[in-house]
């Protein structure tokens, strides 16, 4: 079973790459947020950049002011210190102005929070269970699709398949594009966190509790997405990646009809891959 998934996953990953589909993973030497694949992440990036400008401006303001003060009021240039220790106007100003800045920030911040957190009418549901140390994906809407375990690839396996180590798995979560997907997250033992940076999704997997979140991948953003477990869960915490393969609605229908397996071109690539895996 696992090997079958492995072969399928590797081959589909190959396909994804060869068809130049969209894929999001950490960028090499990257220094900013990953590209958005969902409306929530678009909004999140917007707010992040908006707040970044504000905090950059504040930091630069303090830096310039401090630099000026250090230059202008050094003991050399200003041998006699003033005795001023109060200025009501100033003190009121530096209380009120930050309040105004925060109010400007809090409006879009609340908008994002509620947009992200309030589930819309979703079109399908996926259940994610964190185990030590892999993820189990369940498709409660499709009885014929067996739930399956998504294991990380070992380094050699990943290299052989040409997929990123510590990000790629043997069986990605498959979801359709342009569909509102509800995600139920829970855990069978330790805490975990189901995270997909490009989706703006991060939800803790807590035993005894089912958390819910959602995403909707934007049209044209089919491809493979990578995330990593984001709550310490033991020794293999670093090695339980999350891989989501976003396919077109038609392809997803086929996938479901085929009991959760891709039909196309598996045989042709599969043979070679099997040899490589074994």
């Amino acid at each position: 079973m696992r090997l079958k998934r492995l072969i399928l996953a590797s081959s589909t990953a190959f396909l994804a790459m060869s068809s130049a589909a969209f894929a999001a993973k950490p960028t090499e030497g990257g220094y900013w947020l990953q590209e958005a694949a969902t409306p929530v992440m678009e909004e999140l990036i917007w707010l992040h950049n908006f707040v970044s400008w504000i905090i950059l401006a504040i930091t630069l303001f303090v830096m310039v002011l401090m630099g000026y003060i250090m230059f202008r009021f050094s003991a050399k240039r200003n041998p006699v210190p003033s005795k001023t220790t109060h200025h009501v106007g100033l003190e009121v100003a530096w209380t009120i102005i930050p309040v105004i800045i925060l109010l400007v920030m809090v409006v879009p911040s609340m908008r994002l929070l509620y947009f992200q957190d309030k589930l819309p009418e979703t079109e399908m549901t996926i259940k994610v269970v964190g185990n030590t140390w892999n993820w189990e994906y369940v498709y409660p809407d499709f009885e014929n699709v067996e739930s399956f375990i998504s294991n990380p690839l070992e380094k050699e396996e990943a290299e052989a398949a040409g997929v990123p180590y510590l990000l790629a798995t043997d069986a990605p979560l498959v979801v359709p594009v342009d569909t509102k997907v509800k995600v139920l997250v829970t855990s069978s033992n330790n805490l975990h966190s189901f995270a997909m940076p490009a989706f703006g999704v991060k939800m803790d997997a807590v035993p005894g509790r089912i958390n819910e979140t959602w995403f909707e991948v934007l049209p044209g953003k089919e491809g493979t997405y990578y995330g990593q477990c984001s709550e310490i869960c033991g020794i293999k915490h670093y090695k339980m990646p999350i891989e989501i393969k976003v396919v077109s609605k038609d392809e997803f229908k086929q996938w479901v009809a085929n009991d959760g397996a891709f039909t196309t071109t598996v045989a042709s690539i599969g043979g070679g891959m099997t040899a490589a895996q074994e």
Binding site: Y31, N78, S109, G208
Partner: protein, 542 residues
């Protein structure tokens, strides 16, 4: 004690020190206990620093090369946090400088409860020994030591770590917690009851204010930690309780609420004393009294109060109700306001001043600037929506190290250089101290600034190995660890040199800008000071 009436209180009587063992082991003298705390803080800092240095070396390149097992790495990460917080920052800032200078600054001969003060200190080495033992006893099936993170979330700290390692940590942290609670009671009593005649609350130096607020935070927050640790303890017993075990009707998230109800005030416990120190240093070297003294004092009170009602911003991804998140978002942003008051009041204190750039002033200026950097990323993280992308990534690591590794620790060094002559009686070598400052300043920035990039690029925390895409900034960060190591070496060279050369420090070696009571005493102060209480004149300096 027989009061000997003489005006000059540093005669032979005041310097009557007991023998070595009695002086350092049964010590009830606030200055000796302060010194013990500082030495203890330095030792813990070395242990905690070693742990982080090894982690940085491991992370310098992808793959697992330095550590023998993944478990060991997690043990190092967990213990680095616990040791640095409970055994380095808190003892140095509160126990060390607080003990040394709060009584002197308020014109008191000693702390209110000197024997409890002794107990406070000696609980700490006991606690640290418990934590060190935990390294070498079984934690889980994966190896020795506890690797569940400094936050100790169950189930990883209950069913996930069945071995005795975590029991030793619980015992150690309970001891450290009681140490802090006793210390807090002592500080509150001392500050409220033992101020010299004329020293009203509104004339009290800001460091004493800072320690007073900190002591209240300790008194209210640490019992909650103690309770939650004890609940973990009973949960861990076979057939014990199930407070945090869903199979028994418990809830693991409840621990997170309890922990952060302690944990967030703890952040301010670590930074408020540094605020106090920086205020004095900025004022001293600008040759001006602190600007907006009352605003400064009550900003700290406000930070302390609001600090108790924002805890769940550490838990935005646990699946809380959205309205609850909205509340915590708004409440957290509020803290930016009093913090801004502090920053701008320091700048206004310097404005119009006659500033000299001594070593403590350099640390203070660096503190202010780097605290702003760490503070504004805190504003970013407060936005619950954005936090979903950044939670548990290196962005958070960068943020809290900017406020702690550069905030609290720069505050410690700032105080250390400011008062080193007062405490030891010797002057340090300026060039060695400058080398320490610049190496440390550059080093920690090189370590932690690139970690913002790693976090934005979504690298999660507590990972021993990472995809190759994260290599560049991890490499830079690890290079920073080497620079910082050189800075730490410079610090010890500076210390050794100062104690070898023994250049005597005068009573008030910073000159006219230093106006608090410790500068009216010799350096070092007599064993017992203020046998005749100083009288604070009714001036309207503030």
């Amino acid at each position: 004690m027989v009061a000997i009436p003489h005006g000059d209180d540093h005669g032979a009587y005041g310097d009557d020190k007991p023998g070595f063992f009695a002086r350092w082991f049964y010590s009830t003298n606030h200055k000796d206990i302060g010194t013990l705390y500082l030495i203890f803080g330095i030792i813990s800092g070395l242990i905690g620093g070693y742990l982080s240095f090894m982690m940085r070396m491991e992370l310098a390149a992808p793959g697992i090369s330095v550590f023998n097992s993944e478990h060991d790495y997690l043990v190092f990460a967990s213990m680095h946090g616990l040791i640095m917080i409970f055994f380095m920052v808190m003892p140095a800032l509160i126990g060390g400088f607080g003990n040394w200078f709060v009584p002197i600054m308020i014109g008191a001969p000693d702390m209110a409860f000197p024997r409890m003060n002794n107990l406070s200190f000696w609980l700490l080495p006991t606690a640290l020994i418990c934590l060190l033992i935990s390294f070498f006893v079984p934690g889980s099936a994966s190896g020795n030591g506890f690797g569940g993170g400094w936050v100790m979330y169950p189930p990883l700290s209950t069913s996930g770590s069945p071995g005795p390692a975590f029991d030793f940590i619980i015992i150690g942290l309970l001891a450290a917690g009681f140490s802090s609670i006793f210390g807090a009671i002592n500080f509150i009593t001392t500050i409220l009851n033992m101020r010299a005649p004329g020293m009203t609350m509104h004339k009290m130096p800001l460091f004493a204010w800072a320690v007073l607020v900190t002591a209240f935070l300790l008194l209210l927050a640490l019992p909650v930690l103690a309770a939650s640790l004890f609940m973990l303890f009973t949960d861990r017993i076979d057939g014990g309780t199930g407070f945090f075990d869903p199979a028994m009707g418990g809830d693991p998230e409840m621990f997170q609420h309890l922990f952060w109800f302690f944990g967030h005030p703890e952040v301010y416990i670590m930074i408020l004393p540094a605020f106090g120190i920086v205020s004095h240093v900025v004022s001293t070297f600008s040759k001006k009294p602190v600007f907006g003294y009352l605003g400064m004092a009550y900003a700290m009170v406000a930070i302390g109060v609001v600090g108790f009602v924002v805890w769940a911003h550490h838990m935005y991804t646990v699946g809380m109700d959205v309205d609850l998140k909205a509340y915590f978002l708004a409440a957290t942003l509020v803290i930016a306001v009093p913090t801004g008051v502090k920053i701008f009041s320091w700048l206004a204190t310097m404005w119009g001043g006659s500033i000299t750039y001594t070593i403590p002033m350099q640390w203070a200026l660096a503190f202010i600037f780097l605290f702003v950097v760490g503070g504004v990323t805190g504003v970013m993280l407060a936005n619950a929506g954005v936090d979903v992308a950044l939670h548990d990534t290196y962005y958070v690591v960068a943020h809290f190290h900017y406020v702690l590794s550069m905030g609290a620790v720069f505050g410690i060094f700032c105080g250390f250089y400011y008062w080193f002559g007062k405490m030891s009686g010797y002057l340090y070598n300026k060039w060695l101290a400058a080398a320490h400052f610049w190496l440390f300043f550059i080093g920690v920035n090189v370590i932690f600034f690139p970690q913002h990039f790693l976090g934005l690029n979504s690298m999660p925390r507590r990972y021993i190995d990472y995809p190759a895409e994260f290599e560049l900034w991890n490499q830079v960060s690890s290079a920073g660890a080497l620079i910082t190591l050189a800075g730490v070496a410079a610090f010890f060279v500076m210390l050794i040199e100062a104690f070898i050369r023994k250049r005597p420090a005068s009573d008030s070696y910073w000159g006219e800008g230093a106006t608090t009571l410790e500068w009216t005493l010799p350096s070092p102060p007599p064993y017992h000071q203020f046998n005749t209480l100083p009288r604070i004149e009714d001036t309207d300096e503030h």
